[in-house]
Amino acid sequence: MESVRSDAGPPRGDSALTVKILVAGGFGVGKTTLVSAVSEIRPLRTEEALTEKSIGIDDTSAVAQKTTTTVAMDFGRITLPNGLVLFVFGTPGQDRFWFMWDELAKGALGAVVLVDTRRLADCFPSVDYFERRGVPFIIGVNHFDGAGQHSPTQVRDALDLPAEIPVINCDVRDRESAKHVLITLVEHIMRTMSGRRDPGALTH
């Protein structure tokens, strides 16, 4: 049985058992709906102000003298019976807020990338991001009313994903379905971790 390495960190008693999972995907794909479906609290919203960084990137011409803009993240909390606290974060919908993604991805267990098959390309940046960062992820094909039914296999082929990355159907409005998505992700993380579990490769 592995023990948690804590040599570089604070003593165990100082550590909070908080973990986080990210929910990514294009605008309007159901990220906040998934967060709401599993959260024990009404999903909260937090914002980060962008200042100089965004000047020249944001088109603020329509808003006279607007010098700040905000990037919003929705998140929910699940307190697990054993005292662990799981946070589920919806990533900002706009891809240009990468600095916020880096912050979110730091220390995240893994990510769910939600896909609307009518707008498949919307998920490409998320998939690319998690692949590059080595963050374990799964694909949830969110079924909208009236949306064409594409099989997970078709989606996998379209995204050119390796066989070990789960691609599952879901309806994130449904709590059981949303739970299934998260469980599938954590099971995938377990498999990924046991593959990576090579103490020699672990450096602090």
Binding site: P10, L17, V19, L44, G107, R175
Partner: protein, 141 residues
């Protein structure tokens, strides 16, 4: 506004040209946008230290801290964190940008008024046991 003579380099000026335009949310923090210590992780838990026995971490006994007058927002954080709360939840509750909350938390930490419980190292290298617990917990929802 109170002059800050302890700010050696800047005198009483709390921003300089390099700070760029002063934006409103950061007026609360005196224009500071960063805390010089560790960054506060989004899901680090903050808990208010019992005022009766403040933690004197790193401060030699006998040294008295310069008098410090907390802003109302500092007080609000201390009130919120009587039971531990994550950094993002504090930002959300106060409806303040994360960056501002981090500066305020830095002030409170500097004055040993809060304790920070960083996310467990499990986040970087989760043990199978923790992951199983997460799965069981989600199932039980």
């Amino acid at each position: 506004m109170t002059p800050s003579p302890e700010n050696g380099s800047g005198g009483t000026a709390w921003y300089d040209d390099a700070a760029g335009p002063v934006v409103r949310p950061y007026a609360l923090t005196g224009g500071r946008t960063h805390y010089d210590g560790d960054t506060f992780d989004l899901v680090a838990l903050i808990v208010t230290v019992d005022a009766a026995e403040p933690e004197d971490e790193g401060r030699p006994p006998g040294t008295t801290a310069p008098p410090w007058v907390p802003e109302p927002e500092h007080e609000m954080i201390l009130e919120l964190c009587r039971t531990s709360l994550s950094v993002v939840e504090i930002a959300s509750e106060l409806e303040l940008p994360l960056g501002v909350v981090r500066v305020l938390l830095g002030d409170l930490l500097d004055h040993s008024l809060i304790q920070v419980r960083r996310p467990a190292p499990v986040a970087q290298f989760p043990s199978e046991r923790v992951l199983k617990e997460v799965i069981d917990g989600i199932r039980a929802l």
